[in-house]
Symmetry: C2
Subunit: 174 residues, 2 copies
């Protein structure tokens, strides 16, 4: 019973993360080259740090890592690198967490919905099209024009649900 593997399951399930991260970095570099933007050492390292896991990291957590590796140790160092990545579509900011996560699908037009697992803390990007459409429509009923939307879900991923989560999601495994 294969469920649509749109990348969500791919994020939460065990996988060859070396490959996963490496590919995202390559795509990022290529993408930036096309835009004439510079992937400087701090920026590159910042992206690599975010790519080490599928979790979202706070700016200060990233900063600690950068400082330990010889980069600057003041907040703007991290915030600037992160803002650069976000504004070039290589990372996302999670409003709910005041944190940042690497984008795994650079190249697509990206303002996805985010799925945050409360158990493993991983963050997946989900296609926001239908959700955004529903929101745009309900807003339009009241004469409101949506320009930017924040869509973030907190919940339980399939992997965590199967492990120790509630059995309702894994009845066949009991």
């Amino acid at each position: 019973m294969p469920q649509t593997d749109d990348g969500i399951a791919a994020t939460f399930a065990p996988h060859d993360h070396q490959e996963c991260a490496h590919r995202a970095l390559d795509e990022a570099a290529e993408r930036l080259a096309g835009q004439g933007a510079r992937l400087t050492p701090v920026r590159r390292r910042t992206l690599e740090i975010l790519l080490e896991s599928h979790r979202a990291m706070g700016a200060y957590e990233v900063l600690d890592r950068l400082a330990a590796e010889g980069f600057g140790r003041q907040p703007p160092v991290a915030y600037r690198a992160l803002e650069f990545l976000v504004s070039h579509g290589l990372a996302h900011r999670l409003q709910r967490l005041n944190a940042f996560a690497a984008c795994l699908h650079p190249g697509h037009d990206h303002h996805p919905a985010f799925l945050i697992c409360r158990s493993c803390d991983k963050v997946a990007e989900a296609p926001a099209g239908p959700v955004r459409d529903a929101l745009t429509q309900v807003a339009a009923q009241g004469g409101f024009r949506v320009e930017r939307a924040t869509i973030e879900a907190l919940g339980l991923c399939a992997t965590c649900a199967a492990q120790d989560g509630d059995p309702a999601s894994a009845e066949d495994g009991a």
Copy 2:
């Protein structure tokens, strides 16, 4: 050309706000009485402050007001009152703004979508049902079970669009 007045237009359009705020406060008091929760002076005043406008207010903005009126002047005073209101469904927290807004529909489903006007800063609550359904469904495709969703839209309300906003929304008004 009446558009569905589900409360969105009612929030952004000019209206008898005295009545609007008063009714929300009464409903809140009644609701709390039914729950056996106490609407103490600080809590009541905090709700009144939030109800003065349809904007979202930061905790420190509320705190300044409370302090000026003889309540405590330390952050926990505001945060506790705000948390109480939120947990009892009388106010909402806006993740995007790190701010709080009074709930205008206490008693209804308490996890609405929020529409934030970038021009007048007012915040309206929109029915989140369809949006939440779309999100739940796209998440389920990846095996993710949504437990809580944050849905916040930034944009332009009808009133602001008609006044000086972009003409596309008010072509007949030119």
